[in-house]
Every structure is written in structure tokens, then in C-alpha cells.
């Protein structure tokens, strides 16, 4: 079985990897590139824990073949903070205690960032529907929604 050579950009860095044709982008991020922030909760696009942006579009990396990333730009949770400075969303998740176990948190952050890039002033309902594909079993979503709304407000003000 021959491997595919892929040149891509991950969080702004040029990255090359060899992958099997059947490997997903999530597999490669976690097992070949060493970025384990995106998690596999289901492998079927139902939980959103593996959320990344692909050319600026929010996707489940478990539903993208690694080979498809050729020539594309991938953004993961690892690319959200600017050096020591956390992204507003990251800070708000901490401030609102909007995580318990934290395994869904990377996916929630990537998804919420994509939302606020598209819609800086979402209603609570819009946030809830946008994040419907990000399952969280610990929090009941309450604090997550508050954190995202608060981050949106702060980002609008800034």
C-alpha cells in the first residue's frame, strides 16, 4: 500500500506528511503531526470534538481524508492562542468555568471561533444551533453558551 505525500499548512506552518489513503485528517493531526488537541469522540461527525477549520471552513477532521488537505490551510485549537496570550474565547471559557472534563473544549473553541468570525453578534439561539454539533456531556452547555456570548461582546467592543 503506497502512501500519499501531502503538503499543507497547519496553523500557519508549512507541514508535509505521508499518509495512507484511508487515513483521516484527524488521524494525521494526532498521530503523524503530533497535534492531539483535536479529539476523536465518535469518528462519525456526530460529536464535534475533532473540529478544525479547513480553508476557513469549520469541519469535522474525522470526516476529511488526510489526502484532501493538499494545498489547504488547516487551523486547530493549538493555533488559537497568540504566544502567551490566550484568544478571548479561551479566556472566557476559563473565566466562566465552562468546562469540566475539557475533552470537548478544543472542538467547542474552534467552532465558536468560526461562528464569531462569521457572526460577531449572535443571539443565544444562534450560538446554541451553531454549536449543536459539539456534544458536551459534563456542563449542560449553560456556561459554554454564556462564555461564547461574553467573548462575542468583548470582541465587538475591542
Amino acid at each position: 500500500m503506497s502512501k500519499i505525500h501531502v503538503s499543507t499548512s497547519i496553523n500557519g506552518d508549512a507541514v508535509e506528511y505521508l499518509c495512507d489513503p484511508s487515513e483521516t485528517l484527524l488521524d494525521v493531526l494526532r498521530n503523524r503531526v503530533g497535534l492531539t488537541g483535536a479529539k476523536e469522540g465518535c469518528g462519525s461527525g456526530d460529536c464535534g470534538a475533532c473540529s478544525v477549520e479547513l480553508d476557513g471552513r469549520l469541519v469535522c477532521s474525522c470526516l476529511v481524508l488526510a489526502a484532501e488537505a493538499e494545498g489547504k490551510e488547516v487551523s486547530t485549537v493549538e493555533g488559537m492562542a497568540d504566544g502567551e496570550k490566550l484568544h478571548v474565547l479561551q479566556q472566557k471559557i476559563l473565566d466562566h468555568a465552562a468546562l469540566q472534563c475539557g475533552v470537548c473544549t478544543p472542538g467547542i473553541l474552534v467552532a465558536a471561533k468560526a461562528l464569531l468570525e462569521k457572526n460577531p453578534d449572535p443571539t443565544e439561539t444562534e450560538v446554541r444551533y451553531w454549536l449543536a454539533g459539539n456534544l458536551c456531556r459534563c456542563t449542560g452547555y449553560d456556561k459554554i453558551i454564556r462564555a461564547v456570548m461574553d467573548a462575542a461582546a468583548e470582541m465587538r467592543g475591542a
Binding site: 469540566q100 470537548c104 444551533y129
Partner: protein
Amino acid sequence: MVTEYKEGSVGAELGQREFKVVGTRPPRPDGVDKVTGRALFGADLTAPGMLHATILRSPHAHAKIVSIDTSAALAMDGVKAVVTSDDFVKQGGSGNQDTLDNCMARGKVFYDGHAVVAVAATSVMVANAALKLIKVEYEILPHETDVDAAMLDSAPVLHAGRKFRNIPEGNNANVSGFWEFGHGDIDEGFAKADIIVERSFKTAATHQGYIEPHATLATMGPDGRGEIWVSTQGHYMVRDLSAAFVGMETSQLRVTAAEIGGGFGGKTTVYLEPVALALSKKSGRPVKMVMTREEVFRASGPTTSSSTDVKIGMTKDGRITAGQAKPRYQGGAYPNITAMLGAMTAFASYDLEAVQTQAWNVLTNRPKQAAYRAPGAPMAIYTVESVIDELCQKLDLDPIEVRLMNAAKKGTLSSYGPTFDEIGLVATLEAAKAHPHYAAPLGPNQGRGVSCGFWFNFAGNTSVSMGINEDGTVSVIEGNPDIGGSRASISMMAAEELGIPFDKVRTIVGDTNSIGFNDVTDGSRVTFSVGLATIKAARAAIQNMCGRAAQVWGIDADAVDWVDGAAVPTGHNAGEFPPMTLAEIAADSAKTGGPIAGHHEVNADGAGVSFGVHLVDVEVDPETGFTEIKRYTVFQDAGKAIHPDYVEGQMQGGAVQGIGWALNEEYIYGEDGKLQNAGFLDYRIPVASDLPMIDAVILEIPNPGHPYGVRGVGETGIVPPLAAVANGVSHAAGVRMSELPMSPPRILAAIDGAK
């Protein structure tokens, strides 16, 4: 000298004590790692030379294993080791043997998904390809997955010849447990009633639904020493069971808990860990195993499904005269005590003259149940709270007033045996009654549901150690995996007791070799028990530091007190010295006698029971049976809330899991005994758009058994939602619902049936 707080008189201390750290909301110490993707969960770990292992699982619900031929798989390129039940050590106790047999089927497979063979290979792909080359010959047996059907004499017997204790005559061989609780004369009680309601209920099995599948990495060398890194609620439990199953001494196995991506009771046992260890032993290489989501659903613990008959008598004015419940739970193919816990908790909220509960645990061809947040209580209390609601409806009485009239309080003889000490149910009910939610108007097709809930909370074996560092900071080691922010609350209690700021303390979860034994993170025990041990460890360190100050000052150790993070003379008679801070004492520790540390080991008791009351407004679409949660408020007695954000989080998370249980979550088996919905697509946990904000009202009724008054808070929140939502739906739909989940087809059928 160090003030010695007496347990049992703590209520008084609580009244006087002004907390500086406890009750605030600092950021959690593991937070940045978790928002940046740096935190390492079970599947994030790797080791050089690591193999990957996967498991061949039974396609049958019940079958005898006639033969297993792994030769072709072993011969495959890249395959390094294969294990079956033959590779594990037979266990002395039946409980451990059941756990082992569940990890790897021995002789028989008992459910669709039961593990049969495991293969370690150079990649997951190779391992999976090898599984296809394994030939297992099965003799298929009849199966049963329903609890009531499994109790019939015609049902297939799972464990023929196995004897279970204390089973009354007349029960078949699938009944593995029977328990009875209660007091008073039940017949006399019913005779006093003006009205009696009897009803039967069913609840489906639900899964804990943690987002992180089970994952482990094990390594064992030819020297017989092993290591495991694992996502678990209890790494000491993993150590003890894994070592026993592969036949090694406990001391030779070191287990480190990874960050855990949710557990809710589901990670209180082993599935992969002994298997990975055995494969590593055979192959001589580290072995990683990660379940797929499908495997999580098919083979890791869901909770029990239940069938329960309830009978409650009431006087016209709302006084309960007698209560009786007969829960029958199936928890899969091995014995468990969940039905017993259901029987104990069913009527725990009430002060009753006559109460009787009888519980049966029944074996079926389903996966071995695992604990799920207040195991047994949600389904039992659902049945009782539903009948109480129906009685209130029939008598036109206010459901909170009736609950207040009958509420258990200090001095009440509980339905499960002992007499209650200080408890918070009345305060919780009063808070619900006074809340604006309870008076808010309802719209068309809407209904309001109320339910009480109860959980025991547990304590148990706990070890904590802390070092006072020379720079005036403190390193705490505890041994319970942090499942919801406990490192924050433990750091807070250490800081509070030592009198230093929160950010001077760092708490980690140590591996099994770093401190003494710890029970599993379960039973809402961690903030209580680890907190207790942390406070006592801090007091030991304080005593040491007071001694150092006394020596420096040249006065008696008895003449030194600890105030606001510093040693001070107890009074003018002791001498005039400025306070000597923790940092100052620590800086000189090498000169004054060496390192300063404190530790405490205890089998803690006195966890303190907890009650909750939930209010929910629902709207039911009469044309589709769809239920929308319009408003939800949780009231819970938390004892002292150490970190209120995370207490609220437990209450909110528990409520939403309960909403899922009430409305849509269920294990669906086909006629063939196979699980039909082994994925998040059709096992429907609540998503963000299903819910409103969950308002959480914390009541702080101090637990006399803890220095700060802490009670466990993790589990109680999942107990009331089942009945609260069911009562709300019953009012909104105009028909009493008695089966969970109340999925839209069930509700619509009930509405149409009532027309």
C-alpha cells in the same frame, strides 16, 4: 498550638469561620492546558515502539465459544501478540472474576459486543485486518434482553449452576440479587389512606455518554514490571485489577491517570487495561488501545433498565400513609447492586410511618452495567415522584406543599434504615416554592414538573500529601483523577487552611507509587474526602511549622498559633514576636530541621446525604409529541460550596443528563439481541439547541461531618429530572407518562390513546 477542630461540632465552626478562599471562583489550575489543546487525555499518549491493539467482539447476544483459532492472525505480518481469556489468571472472588470475564469472554459470550480475542500489531489497520483472520466457532444460544422476560421461567438461563445469595423461593436462575428495606406496617398504612395510586413504570438503559472513549497505554518488560497510563476514574483500581488479572504483584505495576474526558461512573472499572497489559507482556512492547464509539456503546457499561411497580397511599390533605415500590433492574450479564440502591433511595425523601421496597437484580444478555451517577436512584425516584405527582393532581394539592408536608428532616427514620442528621430537603423545597419560576405563568400545551431527588454520597479511602516548598509555595499530591475541577477545589482548601493565596498552591493527581491508596473517584466523594484529607495534611504541616517558629523564638510549641498563613505567639505571655510567615519558615526549613510536609491517610466517613429539587416547564407539541424544555431550575443542598462555579456545573450537567434520560436516550435492541444504536447519531444525548439555560440555586446546609461543611454534589443532580420532566410532560400532554424515554412516538401514542 494548632487549633484542633472536632468533627461533629463543625456546624458551630462553620457559623464562625470566615472563608477567604473557599467560596470564591478562581480559574482552575488545569484550565489553560485544556483550552490550548495541551492537556493529555487517554488517547493522546504514545510510547516509543508502541503497538496498537484491537478486539474481536461477539456478533451474538448469547453463545457458547466452541473454539478459537488465532493461528492465521498470528502468522500475519505485523501482528505481535494475541490474547484470549486463557492468558489471564483465574480470580478468587466472583466479583473480580466477573470483571475479568467481561474484559475477555471465558467459555461463553453473554452479549453483542463481548470481547473474545485481542490482537496487538504495528498499526490499528493491521490489527483490524488480523481480527478478520481469527476463526471463532460459536454455538448460538437463546437470548433475552428484557428485564421482565428474563425473570420468567421460560427465559434462557445465563449462568447455569451458579448460586446467588439470599434469593427467595420462586425466582428463576437469572435473579442474582434480592433486597428488602423498610419499616412500619405497610397494610395498616394503606388502610389509613383516602386514596391509593398504583402504577407500573419502565425505564430504558442509558449510557454515561462521556465524550472520550476508553483509552489506555500499557507496557510491561521481561522483568515483570509494568506501567499503565489510562483515562480512568480510579488508577489504584486499575492497578489492583490489572495486576491481579495478569498475575503480578501490585507493587510492580505503576498506573498514572491521564486527563479524563468524562466518566460519570462509567470509568470505575476496567475494560482495556488488563488486556493491553497482557498483550504488552506477550509482545514485550508498549501497547495502546482505544475504543471506537461503537465499542463504547456495545461493550462498556450502560446503566440498568428497569421495571417497577409503585403503590402510594395518601390522605385527602396530602399526608402519605404508606409507600411501596418493587423495582426490578437488569444490568446485563453479571450481578450488580444497582437495584438495591434503587430500593434504598426510592422513598428516601420522605418521612414515612410505613414503607416497603423490594428489589430484584436480573441477568440479561446485555453488557455488564457500570455505575452511572447516583446508580439506581434516578429510575427508582422517578417512579415514586411520578405517583406522588399523580396523587397531588387527583387531590388537587400543590406538589411542593405536599412534599414539604412529608419531607424527611433531622430525626426522620429514613426509608433505608438509619435516622437522618442535619439534611437540607425542607430548605431546598422552600427555596423552590419561593422562586419566581414556581409562580411564572404557563402557556398553552405547557406543563410544570416538580421532583425531589436524593443521593447518599460516599467517602472512603483517601491519601493526600503536601510539600511546603522553600519559596513559600505548596505542592499537593492527591490520588483521585480530576473529573470535573477537583484540583481547583483541593487547592482552594489547602490554601484556605494554610492561610495562603490560591495561586501559591499546585495540586496534582499522583501516580499509584506516589502516595497511599485511594478509592475510585465515585460516589461524589472527592471534594469531601480528598478535601478532608487535604485539610488534615495541611494541619500536620502547620503543626510542623509552628514547631519551627517556636524553636526559632525559643518558646514552647504550645505557645504558637497559626493565623493568616503565619506563626504567631498565642498571646503576650508567650513573648513578643512578629508573625513568621509560611514563606519565611519554608525558606529556612533546611536550617531548622529539614523539609516540611504534611500528609493524611484515612478511610473517611460522614459524607453527608444530599437532596435536590428540580422545577421544569415543558411544552409538548400535541401533533408530534415533541417536548421542548422551556425553563429549568435546580435547587440543591451542596453543603459548603467550595468553588461555586463547579458546584453549579455539576447541578447543570446532572440535570441535562437526566433530561436526556427522560426524553430521548435509550439502548435499542433488535429481536436478534443486537444493539441497534451504537453511536451518537441514534443514541441521542441532548445537544446545545435542545436546552435553555439551566438555573442553579445552591443551598448551603453544612455537613457536620466535614470541617468546612462540604457535601458531595456530583450525583444528586441527575436524580430529579426524570420525574420532573415526566410530570411536566404529563401535565402538558394531559396524559400520565409511565415509560422512559418519553420519545415523541411514545408521547404521541399516549396522547392519541387518551382521546
